[in-house]
């Protein structure tokens, strides 16, 4: 087994949680974010599609959802920055017997709202949402979404039928949105008792009906903390903005080399700022023209500008997956993304300049940030 390194973050440090096809890594930097210390690999050999950080209620807890090809998937957590991890005797995320379904993969771990410090959500494949009300000790399938009558018509995308995005509304405790590839977005207004599709204006280029009620292949959705009406959506062809909490969507693919892509991130405070990495659609799924370009909007999608300083602009045929981009909470915001070729890039000035944190990780599946 590989030698595992650890970091000892101090208060105010920034952590990157990086899940790869061969385990999880942590990267620690001081507030300046000039240099990064590596920790890991944790769960070597397991694919880690989901990571999360829970700092509510005095916790400093890292979550990961390693998937062993042999031994299955479960949620594990660490309260000491990876030095030790829980290893529950019984798989903590499992389908009830009546579903006749077995868990394939954990795709997303999302802490609930700040004023519900013991609530966490977990999105999995096959597409389902689990909730914990005891800070992750026990998990329960959210039955109404599982039993949704449209489920029979959901189609798996290339990554499987995965629930990959979870957005508890910051202001309305009963409202939450999720996204499934390829079923689209669904919203609950009653804390999960009922769900309805929420894809008005989102294109499904791969279906005869281009604007169906559901069935879109939504790749990632982000929501502004300071203005929850504002959301951005990166679709399987299509780049969208909503100003009504996702009830309707407007095409904002203005000046991007492709409206296809996976990853997306939104500024922690400014609801008009977001970042994407366009990919050549849809057979190739690599950066167009061999240039690795992050595109940023500062005006809610009226215009997108390439952010390339420090990123390879020749022979760079990269892919950035749907969960592999994140921002931190500092000012100016740090922006981070990882590629399938194992490169991790960081910007401490909202994308103006980029540096390579590491080149040589296994394929990167998820990047999350935490401020200790």
């Amino acid at each position: 087994m590989p030698n595992i390194r650890h970091v000892k973050p101090k208060k105010g440090d920034i952590l990157l949680l990086v899940g790869t096809m061969k385990g999880a890594f942590l990267f620690r930097a001081k507030r300046s974010r000039r240099s990064w210390d590596l920790a890991g690999p944790y769960f070597p050999g397991s694919a880690v599609y989901a990571m999360g950080y829970d700092d509510r209620d005095g916790r400093r807890r890292i979550w990961a959802g390693p998937q062993s090809m042999h031994f299955g998937s479960l949620l594990r957590s660490s309260d000491n920055f990876g030095k030790t991890w829980t290893n529950p005797e019984e798989a903590n995320v499992k389908f009830p017997t009546r579903t006749e379904t077995a868990l394939q993969r954990i795709w997303q771990i999302a802490p609930g709202r700040a004023d519900e410090p013991n609530t966490l959500y977990c999105g999995v494949e096959p597409a389902a949402l689990f909730v914990s009300k005891d800070a992750g000790e026990t998990w329960k399938l959210m039955e109404a979404l599982w039993d949704h009558p449209q489920r029979a018509n959901w189609q798996p995308g290339g990554g499987g039928l995965c629930l990959h995005t979870i957005l508890p509304d910051p202001e309305d405790k009963k409202r939450m949105r999720i996204a499934v590839s390829a079923a689209g977005m669904y919203v609950t207004d009653d804390n999960g008792a009922t769900w309805r599709p929420s894809n008005k204006g989102v294109r499904a280029e791969f279906l005869p009906n281009k604007y169906p009620e559901f069935g879109q292949c939504v790749h990632k959705v982000v929501q502004a903390r300071s203005k929850p009406q504002r959301m951005f959506l990166q679709n399987h062809w299509g780049l969208y903005r909503s100003d009504d909490r996702g009830e309707s969507w407007t095409d904002i693919a203005n000046g991007v080399p492709s409206d296809f892509g996976f990853a997306m991130a939104i500024h922690p405070d400014d609801p008009d700022r977001a970042w994407i990495v366009p990919l050549e659609s849809d057979q190739f799924r690599c950066t167009p023209e061999g240039k690795l370009r992050v595109y940023r909007t500062k005006n809610a999608g009226k215009k997108w500008e390439p952010m390339t300083k420090g990123l390879p602009q020749k022979q760079a045929y990269e892919t950035v997956l749907r969960d592999a981009m994140a921002v931190d909470s500092l000012d100016p915001a740090g922006v981070y993304f990882g590629t399938r070729s194992g490169k991790l890039f960081a910007s401490s000035d909202e994308g103006k300049r980029w540096s390579t944190v590491i080149d040589g990780l296994p394929p990167i599946l998820t990047v999350k940030t935490a401020r200790v």
């Binding site: 050999g45 062993s68 090809m69 042999h70 031994f71 299955g72 290893n87 019984e90």
Partner: protein, 93 residues
Amino acid sequence: MSFVFVIPGPLRELAGNRGAVRVNGRAESISDALTLLWSQCPAVRDRVLTELGEVRPHINIFVDGESIRDSGGLGASVREGAEIFILPAVSGG
């Protein structure tokens, strides 16, 4: 009746750091024998079986050298004194 389970390296920590676990009790099938193993090593169960009670796709179980996939699966009979290997399949990338 007694049986010996050979535990793969990655699961030994969950089996009290044992490479082999002897279980005693009545078992007519490999499923029964595994139930005896779970009573001693409960954390091994969900790593070997899915929540549907099926052997995980990349786990192989050999009873006296024969894969249970070729001999009736979990319902296959098991003899007194059998040696049962739980092994990760050759898979990965």
